[in-house]
């Protein structure tokens, strides 16, 4: 009885402290960004400008850039990570499976500056020559590909992010996949389903884990700083196509923080950007989880 109470108390303590930590982060974001919202109000988040000389800041292009790069990353990473998860749990024998899973987990733990440098010096030129230029030359009439690309742009950042988040998403999906009770699979085979149908059935069974993995990965993609700052082009302008250069909130913070303190309003502006990123992340998660609920209920 007593230990039960102590256990519950300690749980309560840890829960409350994590709430307080998150809350105090939100507080410091609000408190520090307060001056920019007081000075500029909404125009801070519905305009594009980054002109420290005139202390003029507007972050909408960076918010859009965050959404665009994350969307590209998820669109590429989701099919890749599902196939990787299925492949490693269904199709390859035990020993290789362990090796492959270890490599994938190792990839998840590489520091992002490594991805950034690799992205800048290896990925960007390759994508430029073999993907972006051909797409622009042959399909340039489609608005998505209309900008003549330079190696560093939103698309490169999206692809790099996809590579960075695949290990995260696939590890969550893989764990869920291997936790499906074996009898379900046996039952499916005994009904005469072929392998493809069984895999499809199993994936349907772990929809919620796929969602969870996706959102975990999305969180990392939206918050990634250094790697994106190296390949995104860093131009505060409304992007006209996928191949246009842009900014993300996180890369803006990584680029501008070191000298921000010599300006009166740049620190508030950067914190304001971080606050908007926080709000955006919260909104996307809320929408995502409500979508997931609906899907699971309707199944």
């Amino acid at each position: 009885m007593n230990t039960d109470k102590a256990f519950r108390l300690s749980l309560f303590f840890f829960t409350i402290s994590s709430f307080i930590i998150v809350a105090s982060i939100v507080v410091s974001l609000i408190a520090t960004s307060y001056p920019i919202f007081m000075r500029d109000g909404l125009s801070f988040i519905i305009r594009g400008a980054w002109n420290p000389v005139r202390e003029d800041y507007g972050i909408l292009p960076a918010l859009l850039g965050t959404l665009i790069t994350s969307a590209i990353a998820i669109a590429i990473a989701l099919p890749l990570s599902i196939s990787l998860a299925v492949f490693s749990s269904e199709l390859i024998p035990g020993k290789f499976k362990i090796i492959m899973n270890n490599i994938s987990d190792l990839m998840a733990s590489l520091p992002s500056v490594i991805y950034g440098l690799w992205g800048l010096f290896v990925l960007a030129p390759i994508l430029h020559q073999f993907v972006m230029m051909p797409l622009h030359t042959h399909l340039g009439f489609i608005p998505l590909f209309s900008t003549r690309p330079v190696p560093t742009n939103l698309f490169t950042a999206g692809v790099l992010l996809a590579i960075m988040i695949v290990p995260f998403a696939s590890s969550v999906i893989r764990e869920a996949y291997s936790a499906i009770p074996y009898y379900l699979k046996e039952a499916a085979y005994s009904l005469g389903m072929n392998r493809w149908e069984v895999i499809r059935m199993m994936l349907g069974y772990i929809k919620s884990a796929i969602f969870a993995g996706t959102f975990l990965a999305l969180g990392r993609a939206m918050g990634e700083t250094v790697a994106v700052a190296m390949v995104v082009g860093n131009i505060m302008r409304f992007p006209k196509s996928l191949f246009d250069m842009g900014y993300t909130i996180s890369s803006l913070i990584a680029s501008q923080f070191p000298n921000a303190e010599v300006y009166e309003f740049m620190v508030p502006a950067l914190y304001g950007g971080a606050f908007m990123l926080f709000i955006m992340g919260l909104a996307i998660n809320l929408i995502g989880f409500s979508m997931m609920r609906r899907m699971v209920v309707h199944r």
Binding site: F19, I20, V22, A23, S24, V26, V27, S28, I30, A31, T32, A49, W50, N51, P52, V53, R54, D56, L120, F121, A124, P125, H128, T147, V150, P151, T152, A229, M230, G233, N234, I235, M236, R237, K240, D244, M245, A254, S255, Q256, F257, P258, N259, A260, E261, V262, Y263, V267, Y271, L282, N285, L286, F289, S290, R293
Partner: protein
């Protein structure tokens, strides 16, 4: 529905706690928030054992802490290590490369003994310090900005440019390499009809400050429309020909990867990274590359115009010192500064700072103590700092 309710509830709780804390303790938290920028710092603990000392009289032992400009970092680390050896490990100098702006801010908050910076203090901050006992700021090393380019067929040192052309390129007014203005200066290069991709730094940087100060000096339009700062709003971005890159290495990569591009980096990096460097026309009408001779010539030519260490440098620096006279002067030459207070509470600290920087400005400027790629000060410029150090005093 339970999971969703839980999620909404937790969000509500977080926001509620946030608001409570915000209203209750905003003062306390703000104070803390102001001091917690996420800057990755690389403290420089030096652990070399010392050979023979040079100083004859008894020195106090202790530590000096500085931070700031990243351009200064390799040279400062080398000075610190050498001085540590020379004093038999008695005086340890720590320097963290956190950027000029962050260095100035931390110094202003009293968290550092000295700041390293690519530009002197702004007027407002200078006056603030003046009321509190005064400031000493002086050059410790020469820095200059090299204009680099990537035109297939044009090797390093072939391309000639003027400040006005450079300003027009970054203003987005000259957009093709075969523009008559560029062709006229470079009759022997086959300049193609290709768009000029103008690469610039995306992170705040002293290099950008120096370049934009130069462009402001040579182009009235640049001064009005853009100005000079650690970060500026580049007009060339608006026409889609600009590329932002992080750090000197990012600019170097962008210039190498984009044919028909132009960019700017610290001169030390330009040669290290094997980039093509352009000749720039100086105020005597000659075309010069950034070399140790042309940079020293520029620094010497500036000498007459430089203020004393305890004066306000922001009026003339970096804008006014750009494009100095002299047939051999490289026009985009600048200094890296060390900033000290005049009064320190601790008399030992005063002595440590005086000894270290006296050494930096004398023996430290000799070629064996200068890191490859950096250019030492002419003796008359070093004299500014030596005079300034005499004003250091203890008080409190």
């Amino acid at each position: 529905m339970r999971g969703r309710n839980l999620l909404v509830m937790s969000a509500v709780i977080v926001v509620a706690i946030a608001l409570v804390i915000a209203f209750g303790l905003s003062g306390i938290f703000r104070g803390e928030a102001d001091q917690t920028p996420a800057i990755s710092t690389t403290p420089s603990l030096i652990t070399t054992t010392a050979p023979a000392a040079i100083t004859t009289r008894e020195l106090p032992s202790g530590t000096i802490n500085g931070a700031g400009a990243s351009f200064l970092n390799p040279q400062m680390q080398a000075w610190a290590m050498k001085f540590y050896e020379l004093t038999n490990g008695k005086i340890q100098v720590n320097y963290q490369s956190i950027g000029s702006g962050a260095g100035q801010a931390k110094f202003r908050e009293g968290m550092l003994d000295f700041a390293g910076s690519d530009v002197p203090l702004k007027k407002g901050i200078y006056n603030e310090f003046k009321e509190k006992g005064g400031i000493i700021q002086f050059p410790v090393i020469i820095g200059s900005v090299a204009i680099v380019y990537n035109i297939p067929g044009a090797e390093s040192g072939r391309l000639r440019l003027t400040g006005e052309i450079l300003a027009k390129i970054y203003l987005g007014e000259i957009t093709y390499w075969d523009d008559p203005a560029i062709k006229e200066l470079n009759p022997d290069i086959a300049l193609p009809h290709e768009r000029i991709i103008a690469v610039h730094r995306s992170d705040g940087s002293g290099t950008t400050f120096v370049l934009t100060a130069y462009l402001s000096k040579v182009s009235e339009k640049w001064k009005e429309k853009v100005g000079a700062d650690f970060t500026v709003q580049w007009p060339v971005d608006e026409i889609g020909s600009g590329v932002g890159a992080k750090g000197n290495e990012g600019v170097a990569a962008a210039v190498k990867q984009n044919q028909y591009s132009i960019g700017y980096v610290e001169a030390a990096y330009a040669y290290e990274l094997g980039l093509n460097v352009a000749e720039i026309r100086n105020s005597d009408g000659r075309y010069v590359l950034p070399t140790s001779e042309t940079m020293k010539a520029a620094a010497g030519a500036l000498m007459a115009r430089l203020p004393k260490a305890d004066e306000d440098w922001s009026g003339i620096f970096p804008h006014e010192v750009m494009d100095p006279p002299g047939p051999d002067s490289y026009p985009i030459t600048s200094f890296s500064f060390v900033i000290l207070r005049q009064v320190y509470d601790d008399p030992v600290k005063v002595e440590l700072l005086r000894e270290f920087f006296k050494w930096v400005l004398t023996a430290g400027q000799e070629s064996e103590n200068i890191v490859k790629g950096y250019i030492p000060l002419p003796p008359e410029v070093a004299e500014i700092g030596l005079r300034g150090l005499e004003m250091l005093r203890a008080g409190g």
